[in-house]
């Protein structure tokens, strides 16, 4: 048994009402490390090609990494995955909190949920005792309400992941919520749980997680914590979390505003981390073992609403604040609460709402579609109403619940240009017409337009905001580094914001597992995983290739109207040039398909054998 792991895989087949455990295979650990690696390997091997993501053959996976739950900064991250109901390709979402420590203490590295239950249920994992319970009384309840009820019933020391009404109704941007405000937000994984009629997963564990060299771990972990404590930005992160990004993003003209028309929101100071702290924040809230406590727990009150919510984080402030032009942080926080309680991703949610408002302004959607509501940028009631309509699939919400790409295809009449997405996943919170490496990051991210695998805005500021030259190499470097944290099961923020070097994580990995991998060995595995997720797209999406890496036409057709990046555009030729360079450096064909040589080099020859 390799230390640092829960050592078992828990498999729950809902159709057969059967629970089994398997030992986590050693070669899986050595070749794919954990979390993200475990998920794509399992999906590629176990899913039949072409399955319906919401059908009985689909699987939902929740997985931890070797560093999850361990004594080192911010080790509270886990990954969820499946074939995405939103994109039809590789679906994966990252979530912080306390779940992965609990799952490993219960003795499991990963839960695989298969089949479909005939009636609503929730899963209870209490160390070795695993059972399915009836969720009839919880069905239709909100995510946060459900978590509260289950904690009251099972005990506060259970860690719980839930879906809301949106997941139950198979809304394709449905998320999974955990720890009263953390979400596995992206790619619609909440709908997979909804299709299986799983309302919640509740976990409690009591076992110690074995460590190869305890003193060695303590030594490196103390060094990592010390780097956080002594970083000049430490206090800023503790006070404002990701909220401090808001002002900066506006100053550089990268803040998504009015459906990504602009990179500058004139009311941004109302949404700043400082103002948020003053108006709504109650306490700082942290994930497991995290010193930075970027979670801001808030109480928002205004007019007829009064709600508690974790956040808003930068992404929510960007996508619901700037992108829907809400200039009052209390409204953004309340919209955040509605998304959390109904169980929809605030990034896709904010983007789709902005898309709908722009379509309404252009007459593509009318009051007949919205149930009589006049959609307007800057109108909180438009946003609140659309969140409900999407989550409950009412009126135009039924179409918008399919995601902006499918909604645009259906609406037609030029709507596709206003669907700010790549591969069917809505773009997260950075306007990128004058941030080409960031644009390329969105184009090539392996789940669709998300910033987690590569975030490169500072690289653009340093190396030129209008040139495609040299961007591909940086994006590839980031795509091998950042997802490594999602594979090890930790948060990347101590690395990127506090200066904890990757070499410390490699050392912690060696101390925990006893596996003698260097930093380069870890990057090699990261590249293997990246290519395997690409091959999943190739296998699952007919005709997949270069066209799926292109951004919305707004990038090269519409100039930024105002703000620091006014006049900015990124020409089509430059987009294509970046892609050419990216594919070449990756060892992929001109259509973006990994070559046989590249796959064999990465130990993925088995993919070619089918």
């Amino acid at each position: 048994m390799i230390p640092g792991y829960g050592s078992k895989v828990l498999r729950i087949n809902l159709s057969e009402n059967k629970v089994t455990t398997e030992h986590t295979p050693e070669d899986l650990i050595k070749n794919y490390l954990g979390a993200r690696g475990f998920i794509i390997h399992t999906l590629y091997k176990e899913l039949k090609q072409g399955i319906d993501p919401l059908g009985p053959d689909a699987k939902f996976i929740m997985a931890t990494g070797p560093l999850s739950g361990m004594f080192l900064p911010s080790s509270g991250k886990f990954q969820s995955g499946g074939k995405s109901p939103l994109t039809g390709g590789y679906g994966e979402a990252n979530c912080g909190g306390h779940m992965p420590a609990e799952l490993k203490m219960a003795g499991y590295d990963m839960i695989i949920i298969e089949g479909q239950s005939s009636k609503p249920c929730y899963i209870v994992v209490d160390d070795d005792d695993v059972r399915l319970e009836d969720a009839g009384a919880l069905w239709t309840k909100g995510s946060l309400t459900t978590e509260k009820l289950l904690k009251e019933q099972l005990g506060e020391d259970f860690q719980i992941a839930t879906i809301g009404p949106a997941g139950e109704k198979l809304v394709k941007i449905a998320c999974i919520s955990h720890d009263f405000g953390r979400q596995a937000g992206r790619t619609g994984l909440g709908a997979i749980l909804g299709s299986k009629k799983v309302k919640a997963i509740c976990v409690r564990g009591s076992k110690s997680i074995p460590v190869h060299d305890v003193n060695g771990l303590i030594k490196v972990a103390r060094r990592m914590y010390e780097k956080c404590f002594t970083n000049p930005a430490f206090e800023l992160w503790q006070n404002y979390g990701t909220g401090s990004v808001t002002v900066w993003a506006n100053r550089i003209g990268a803040f998504p505003t009015r459906n990504f028309r602009s990179g500058y929101f004139e009311l941004f100071t109302n949404l700043s981390g400082v103002n948020m702290r003053k108006q709504v924040v109650v306490i700082n809230k942290a994930c497991f073992a995290c010193a930075m406590c970027c979670g801001k727990y808030s109480h928002t009150q205004k007019g007829d609403y009064d709600a508690y919510v974790e956040g808003p984080e930068y992404e929510t402030t960007a996508m619901i604040g700037g992108n829907c032009a809400l200039g009052d942080i209390r409204d953004v926080a309340y919209a955040n609460y509605l998304c959390d309680e109904y169980g929809i991703d605030t990034i896709s949610g904010g983007s789709i709402i902005a898309f709908a408002i722009e379509c309404f302004e252009r007459g593509i959607i009318t009051e007949k579609d919205t149930g009589g509501i006049k959609l307007k940028f800057g109108d909180p009631q438009s946003v609140f109403a659309l969140i409900r309509k999407i989550a409950l699939k009412e009126d135009i919400g039924n179409l918008l619940a399919e995601g902006s790409k499918k909604a645009a295809q259906e609406l037609n009449r030029g709507a596709m240009k206003f669907a700010m997405q790549v591969k069917g996943l809505e773009q997260s919170g950075y306007e990128s017409r004058r941030a080409p490496a960031m644009l390329l990051s969105y184009m090539t991210s392996d789940i669709g337009a998300h910033h987690r695998p590569s975030w490169a805005v500072t690289h653009d500021l340093a190396t030129g905001r209008d040139t495609p030259v040299g961007k591909a190499a940086k994006v590839i470097e980031l795509q091998h580094t950042r997802p490594l944290f999602d594979t090890l099961g930790v948060c990347r923020l101590p690395w990127i914001e506090m200066g904890v070097p990757v070499s410390d994580y490699a050392e912690a990995f060696r101390m925990i597992t006893g596996i003698d991998y260097t930093e380069d060995d870890l990057y090699h595995i990261s590249e293997r995983i990246w290519n395997l997720t690409r091959m999943f797209w190739v296998r699952e999406v007919p005709g997949f290739g270069r066209e799926y890496d292109l951004p919305p036409a707004r990038v090269w057709e519409d100039r930024i109207p105002d703000g620091p990046t006014k006049g900015g555009i990124f020409e089509r030729e430059k987009v294509e040039a970046m892609l050419d360079e990216y594919y070449e450096l990756r060892g992929w064909t001109k259509d973006g398909i990994p070559t046989e040589e590249k796959l064999r080099e990465l130990g993925l020859g088995w993919v070619l054998e089918g």
């Binding site: 306390h98 009591s206 997680i209 771990l217 306490i283 995290c290």
Partner: protein, 127 residues
């Protein structure tokens, strides 16, 4: 010296529990910590810290005379303890803990590891 707490600063990160268990048992397991953290969510949104205040109620309550204070620190004598858990019930702060691996409850020995690591100074030395 005693350990003080300021609950409004607690973020629920449980790093204190991790170092506590590592220091006393050499194990990565926050469930073996002599300090408790409990969330109260969604409202009012706060964490409660259970921490021994050296109040000595457990000493009076123990029917076996197994708990005593030496050098200002409360300790349980494992030879005398019968695991009746009367002390756990008697503690007004919920600060006496158990784990199924052990047949003796455990109490904070004021080693201060948690104070040293607490990232928000929710735990501190009180003189």
């Amino acid at each position: 010296m005693k350990i003080g707490k300021e609950e409004s600063r607690c973020t629920g990160c449980r790093t204190c529990q991790l170092v506590c268990a590592l220091h006393h048992f050499g194990e990565n397991n926050p469930k073996k910590a002599a300090i408790g953290i409990k969330g109260e969510f969604p409202s009012p949104g706060r964490y409660r810290i259970s921490l021994c205040t050296q109040c000595e109620k457990c000493i009076d309550a123990c029917p076996e005379g197994a708990i005593a204070k030496a050098d200002g620190i409360i300790r349980i004598d494992p030879e005398k303890c019968t695991y009746c858990l009367v002390c756990v019930d008697s503690c007004p702060f919920g600060a006496i803990f158990t784990h199924r691996d052990f047949k003796v409850p455990f109490i904070c020995d004021v080693c201060g590891e948690c104070v040293e690591i607490c990232p928000t100074k929710a735990l501190f030395w009180k003189t």
